[in-house]
Symmetry: C2
Subunit: 148 residues, 2 copies
């Protein structure tokens, strides 16, 4: 069993994807991450769903958790409005580290090791040109190795 | 809207939960993490799904990604057998940092900031005694703030 056998169609995003659209896609499709690709369809980064949330948060609430406490509830409920007008490029500057992407012929062991190492429950599968042909989720991997 | 309004029933695990059972639960229920509680039901740690994978990986495949490459595919397919006989306590030693848990009256902003800060798509909700009464997932949070 190789990566190509586990790869599934998976939505991708670009640096220009509006943050609000990304958030809606994460919610609608129950995605745990977004694969951000360049103009040629090559993965640049896999953005964890929790990091899209960050875009909607006022700066002070991240710097000092105690300050998030003082905001009244109504305000808190609409914090995602802050997403409006922003794109994924605004939250990618601090996304460094190893890219969670595998080649078509990578094995289950390699995929699992990469997921564990990068802590990414989504890995992109790329062809020889580095172009994304699909993705593998942690749940898909578990289903297969557990024989479900 | 407060944490108690968003909390849903969520399965918990203990240090003694077999790793294989934990993996099956993650797959069956499409969970992104497991809340590990003590004997009184108080959360100790929220274990990301990717870190349960780690338990099934041979040590060498984590230390040196290139070595995972040399394992034949058949072997790779059954690596999860390594989970047998192990418990979650075996993978909790390195889980440090802030506990992704909120109080019942915490606001959406506080919950979102905690998810972003800890990078955990699951946060436990605890009562005044610190006992888990449910959990909030990133998708549930997004649904509510996006007005779906």
């Amino acid at each position: 069993m190789q990566a190509r056998d586990l790869a599934e169609a998976f939505p991708s995003a670009t640096m220009d994807t509006p943050a609000l659209e990304a958030a809606r896609r994460l919610a609608t499709d129950r995605l745990n991450g977004l694969v951000v690709v360049d103009e040629r369809g090559r993965p640049i980064v896999v953005l964890p769903a929790t990091q899209v949330l960050r875009l909607g948060l006022p700066r002070y609430s991240q710097d000092d958790p105690a300050l998030a406490r003082v905001i009244d509830e109504a305000h808190a409920d609409v914090f995602l409005r802050k997403l409006a007008g922003r794109t994924l490029s605004d939250c990618l500057s601090e996304q460094k580290g190893e890219l969670p992407a595998v080649n078509e012929d990578d094995t289950v062991l390699e995929i699992a090791a990469l997921m564990a190492r990068t802590r990414s429950p989504v890995v992109a599968v790329v062809d020889r040109d580095g172009v994304m042909i699909g993705a593998i989720t942690l749940h898909t991997l578990l289903d297969r190795v557990l024989g479900r």
